[in-house]
């Protein structure tokens, strides 16, 4: 086994270290190789313990086997080559290196031989560096010995603050204690330890210290030179007891026992107390309890109050440590009679009865009730004292909160002034008397000038200006004696009040106010019991965003506007003062907003697009936030209201106007129109033919009789229009319609014949179907007399035998035949039949008219040629004006025309 020289580093000084190094090198250079493993050199020292932050020097000694010199040696810290500047050549075979140890310094230090360009570097030797810090000095050493049984424990426990650096190396802590008589020590942890002295060294002086040691050194804390009593911490006083004594309602006697015998430690005590549940401890002045005693009388306590008492102790000179507080001991002080007035107040409730109000009298227990209030005695004006008992369930005098006790509710005239007096009583006695004056409504003292509020440190504060009162002849004193602050919750109507002194101008509300709740705060100036007028203001302890948004609805939608309406948010949900409303309306992805004031509850949004969908919501805002209403969708109208009606009316008017214009044009241009429609036809009467009509020589040129069947028979109404109508109306009122139909038909037939004479011509074969009243076209014809009007007696045949030629007219009509035609046997038929023009050509064998018809037929046959000759002139015939009908131009019945158109002409329709 190879032997190496292990030299401690950091402990010995440099000169001795250098000497040892040289000796080692000499020995190593001379020593033979003793291992089967070829070694090329070694590093001194081996596996050193190095201190972080300090320099470390190592020496590499090269053996002959390495075939290297000092120039070939270089150092590496793991993979990093140490610069040559840190090397020191000792001789040809030894090179040392000095490095500064840091936390980052690699653990391995290698000595290598530089290789040839073809060969790799060769490691000659390596050492492992163990880094660490020297121990740090502990500070703030303190020791304690607690009580164990009836004595002080022999174990003294100490604590200290160790160093702040990490303990890389294993470190031991040892606690030492030295007495005059002996030294003691004990193993300790990093920051605490204890020594067992066997017997606690009472009344002795001792020294305590801590030693910290690791491989890099040892360090000792400062010595704690201490008197043994300074270590002592006794148990808390035992058997703490509180005695409540009758007739001593404001004191409690506290007693206890010493936790340890006075020969060990002479103690002094400390007492503290508080009311149950308050946690607000009051300490008895230390001077009162510094003597070695076992009882103390607490004074100036509140009657009928439960107190918690704790006691602790310490060496009477203040050495050592305070013991822990003893366990809670509770006791209640005896009751005493109330020593303050009950808090009397009233609430005025408006009454439905005119000139009357209702007064609710209420009170709170006296601040110093000194016991459980069992009842109240109340007297109103000059009445008797009445007792109002208070149930246990109604009142808990032990609670910190003073409850409001409603006493009376009485009607009170506006013109009445009264004094209310009240006393509270408990099991011991009565309280002083409280009084309150309710003035006449007209005599109420003035209110404060102004009132404001603010919040500060989570409390609601009220500030006011006192009333400006001048001495007058009023029944009350002009000086304000106190103020009453009354607050009423808007949400639930809960109310409370508090009293403030006359000089107070700013006061915090002492009640348990809720956040986001609206309170109506009133300040009443009090004038020696007289209640002044209140001044009220709304306030919030803390405002928040409204609990809900306003309820919005669309009141009206128009083409370009919409009227929105919303309700005010209920007061209990506003959670703050509404600062404004913001209306948002969204269409087509664009949002617009309008801010309106708080007193606005409807708004007409204008400039909206017509026939568009809008989403609307209204946001209510307070200083602390905003809340939106639910979205409301609606569509604007395509047309404004009345717009459609206007269009319809205008179109109608335009149409009517155009119609009227057309009619007027027609009327004014009737002649020209008529001429266009009915071109003028030469009057046959003026024809030269008429002059030669008696001359029948030309008849030889007329077609033969065989062609008669092809001749159209045209029925021409030759009656005068006026006479026909009058006759129809007078004689046949019940047949009016049929008449009109007949006339119309005739007109149509006539018109048809006039406008299109060729179309009106039909075969004579079709005449055989006449008399059928079917829906199909009925062709009928009549013989047109050459003279007379409808209803007139036809001209006697002899007269007409030479000059009149019966003519046949034919009409095409879908109208059924007139009754007179269908039933010619009636009187009317007979009357009609007197007119030969209404006779029927075929089948005219009815009644008395049969002869006439036959005669007409015969005449027709005789005059067949003539008819056929005149038929093409029907149009001209129909153009004849009624004035020309049957009359000569001179107004006298002229000679009978030889053909029909000259006799009757065209009959206009009725």
């Amino acid at each position: 086994v190879c032997e190496f020289v292990n030299l401690p580093s950091g402990i010995m000084d440099k000169s001795s270290y250098r000497l040892l190094q040289l000796l080692s090198l000499a020995w190593l250079a001379c020593r033979p190789t003793c291992s089967s493993i070829t070694t090329y050199g070694t590093i001194i020292p081996q596996s050193p313990l190095v201190e972080i932050g300090k320099e470390f020097t190592a020496t590499c000694v090269v053996y002959k086997a390495a075939k290297a010199t000092a120039e070939d040696i270089y150092w590496k810290l793991k993979n990093v080559t140490v610069p040559k500047e840190q090397y020191t050549k000792i001789n040809d075979s030894a090179v040392s290196v000095t490095i500064t140890i840091t936390n980052e310094t690699a653990n391995w230090l290698l000595c290598e031989k530089k290789g040839s360009p073809l060969n790799r570097n060769q490691v000659i030797h390596g050492i492992l560096l163990t880094k660490g810090y020297p121990p740090e000095k502990p500070v703030n050493l303190s020791c304690m010995a607690v009580q164990s049984g009836r004595k002080i424990s022999s174990n003294v426990t100490c604590t200290w603050q160790p160093g702040t650096r990490d303990e890389i190396l294993k470190t031991t802590y040892t606690l030492f204690g030295s007495l005059i008589v002996s030294n003691k020590s004990g193993k300790a942890h990093r920051s605490s330890g204890y020594i067992d002295f066997g017997t606690f060294p009472s009344f002795m002086q001792l020294a305590m210290w801590v030693e910290v040691e690791n491989k890099l050194g040892k360090v000792r804390s400062d010595i704690l030179d201490i008197y043994a009593a300074d270590l002592v911490k006794t148990n808390p006083p035992s058997d703490v007891n509180i005695l409540s004594e009758n007739n001593f309602s404001r004191t409690l006697l506290v007693s206890w026992k010493h936790p340890i015998h006075v020969t060990y430690v002479t103690l002094k005590y400390n007492i503290r107390f508080c009311t149950v549940g308050s946690g607000d401890w009051t300490e008895v002045p230390p001077n009162d309890t510094e003597s070695y005693k076992e009882s103390f009388r607490l004074q100036y306590l509140k009657p009928d109050m439960e107190y918690v008492v704790q006691v602790r102790c310490i060496h009477h000179m203040g050495y050592g440590y305070w013991s822990d507080w003893s366990a809670n001991s509770t006791a209640r002080t005896p009751e005493d009679k109330p020593t303050s007035k009950p808090d009397l107040w009233r609430v005025i409730i408006p009454s439905q009865v005119k000139s009357e109000r209702r007064v609710q009298v209420m009170c709170k227990d006296p601040v110093e009730s000194n016991g459980r209030i069992q009842g109240y005695s109340i007297k109103i004006q000059d009445g008797n004292w009445e007792t109002v008992a208070v149930n246990d369930s109604d009142l808990d005098s032990r609670s910190q909160e003073r409850k409001i006790i409603p006493l009376y509710q009485i009607p009170w005239s506006d013109k009445r002034r009264g004094l209310i007096e009240l006393k509270a009583w408990n099991s011991v006695g009565e309280s002083p008397q409280a009084s309150l004056v309710i003035p006449k409504l007209t005599q109420e003292p003035p209110s404060v000038e102004w009132l404001s509020w603010f919040t500060q440190q989570g409390r609601l504060w009220v500030k006011w200006q006192p009333p400006n009162v001048t001495a007058t002849g009023e029944p009350y004193r002009s000086e304000v004696t106190e103020y009453i602050l009354e607050w009423v919750s808007v949400s639930d109507g809960a109310m409370d009040w508090q009293r403030e002194r006359r000089h107070t101008r700013t006061a915090a509300i002492k009640g348990n106010l809720q956040k986001f709740n609206r309170y109506n705060i009133s300040v009443y100036p009090m004038y020696s019991g007289w209640t002044g007028k209140p001044l009220t203001i709304a306030a919030f302890l803390e405002q928040g965003a409204p609990l809900e948004g306003p309820s919005v609805k669309v009141r009206r939608t128009g083409k370009n506007d919409a009227e929105l309406e919303w309700m005010e948010i209920p007061l209990d949900k506003q959670r703050g003062f509404i600062t404004n409303y913001t209306i948002f309306f969204i269409t087509g992805g664009k949002e617009h907003s309008i801010v309106v004031s708080t007193d606005t509850y409807s708004y007409t949004v204008k400039r909206m697009a017509s026939n568009s969908k809008y989403v609307v919501r209204v946001m209510a805002s307070t200083v602390q936030g905003s809340t939106n209403s639910s979205d409301l969708s609606f569509n604007t109208l395509m047309y404004a209201p009345g717009q459609i009606e206007a269009i319809v009316v205008s179109v109608s008017i335009s149409f009517l106007f155009s119609v009227v214009l057309t009619m007027l044009c027609c009327i004014y241009k009737m002649d020209s129109i008529k001429k266009k429609i009915w071109p003028p036809v030469p009057d046959p009467s003026n024809s030269t033919i008429a002059k030669w009509s008696p001359d029948f020589t030309s008849k030889a040129d007329t077609p033969n009789e065989s062609a008669l069947g092809d001749v159209s028979i045209v029925e021409v109404d030759v009656f005068d229009r006026k006479s026909l109508c009058e006759e129809d109306k007078a004689g046949l009122p019940l047949k009016k319609d049929k008449y009109l139909s007949e006339e119309h038909s005739s007109g149509i037939g006539g018109s048809s014949c006039l406008s299109s004479p060729h179309q009106s011509v039909s075969d004579s074969d079709e005449g055989g179907d006449e008399g059928q009243t079917t829906a199909s076209t009925v062709q009928y014809s009549s013989v047109v007399a050459s003279c007379g009007y409808k209803g007139q007696t036809p001209c006697p045949l002899p007269q007409s035998g030479s000059s009149q030629t019966p003519s046949f007219t034919r009409s095409e009509s879908t109208q059924p035949l007139l009754d007179s035609e269908e039933h010619p046997e009636g009187p009317e038929s007979q009357r009609y039949l007197r007119n030969p023009y209404f006779g029927r050509l075929p089948g005219g064998n009815n009644g008395d008219s049969g002869d006439l018809e036959d005669l007409n037929q015969m005449e027709m046959k005789k005059q067949g040629l003539a008819l056929r000759r005149f038929c093409p002139l029907e149009e001209d015939f129909q153009q004849t004006t009624p004035t020309e009908e049957g009359h000569s131009p001179d107004g006298q019945p002229g000679p009978d025309p030889s053909y029909m158109p000259q006799l009757s002409g065209y009959r206009p329709q009725c």
Partner: protein, 226 residues
């Protein structure tokens, strides 16, 4: 005798044995008076005050110790304490002036220590290891040693030019080499009885010395302590 005691109480726990060993070490340490911290230059009043309180404590414990001793000796315990024994130091403090009386206190404390040690050894054979008597005897030695050192410091403070003799003023303590159980019980009771009496006298002496020696020096401080 030791083997007999061990046979009688084989159920002893390790902790008790350790406590006994600790007591032995403590007693051994008492002999090395210079092992602890040296006297400090303190106020006369404070010195004597602490010593008085320590004396009072040891005296109170010696009363209890004697009661426990008598209770643990069985029958005839009262008889043991009435037997005359010459080898026990006389508890009377001697001397004409405060320095002599202080020196007498110191000598008596030192003189009683070997007797207390002897009684402790004897009772360790007679009593079970868990007996409170042994602990109290050890504590008495421990506190008496401390008291002796405090008296020495006070003496050096009050009379810095007077040497402290190496041997007790009353001469070296002679302890009878061999005693039987009866003699041991009688011896122990007389030692504790005289020890109690000694402490009573030391209390008285210290109060006197304090009044004589410290009144003019630290009057104000005295009032604070009392």
């Amino acid at each position: 005798m030791s083997g007999h005691v061990k046979n009688m109480y084989p159920q002893l726990s390790i902790s008790q044995a350790a406590r006994t060993l600790l007591s032995l070490l403590l007693v051994a340490a008492i002999d090395s008076m210079n092992a602890g911290i040296a006297c400090r230059n303190q106020q006369c009043e404070s010195h004597i005050q602490r010593s008085s309180k320590l004396t009072r404590l040891i005296h109170m414990e010696s009363v209890d110790l004697l009661k426990i001793y008598k209770a643990s000796q069985g029958d005839l315990s009262e008889l043991f304490c009435q037997m005359p024994i010459n080898i026990v130091p006389n508890p009377n403090i001697s001397g004409l002036d405060p320095s002599e009386r202080m020196l007498s206190i110191y000598s008596h404390c030192k003189a009683f220590l070997p007797h207390l040690k002897r009684v402790t050894e004897q009772q360790r054979d007679l009593q079970p290891p868990s007996s409170p008597l042994l602990n109290n005897l050890t504590t008495a030695q421990y506190r008496t040693s401390g008291l002796a050192n405090q008296i020495k410091c006070i003496y050096q403070t009050l009379f810095p030019n007077l040497p402290i003799p190496l041997e007790p003023v009353d001469g070296p303590t002679s302890i009878h080499p061999s005693q039987n159980v009866f003699q041991q019980k009688v011896y122990g009771c007389v030692v504790l009885k005289n020890f109690k009496e000694l402490l009573s006298q030391i209390r008285h002496e210290l109060r006197t010395i304090k009044n004589q020696m410290c009144k003019s020096r630290t009057f104000a401080y005295t009032n604070a302590l009392f």
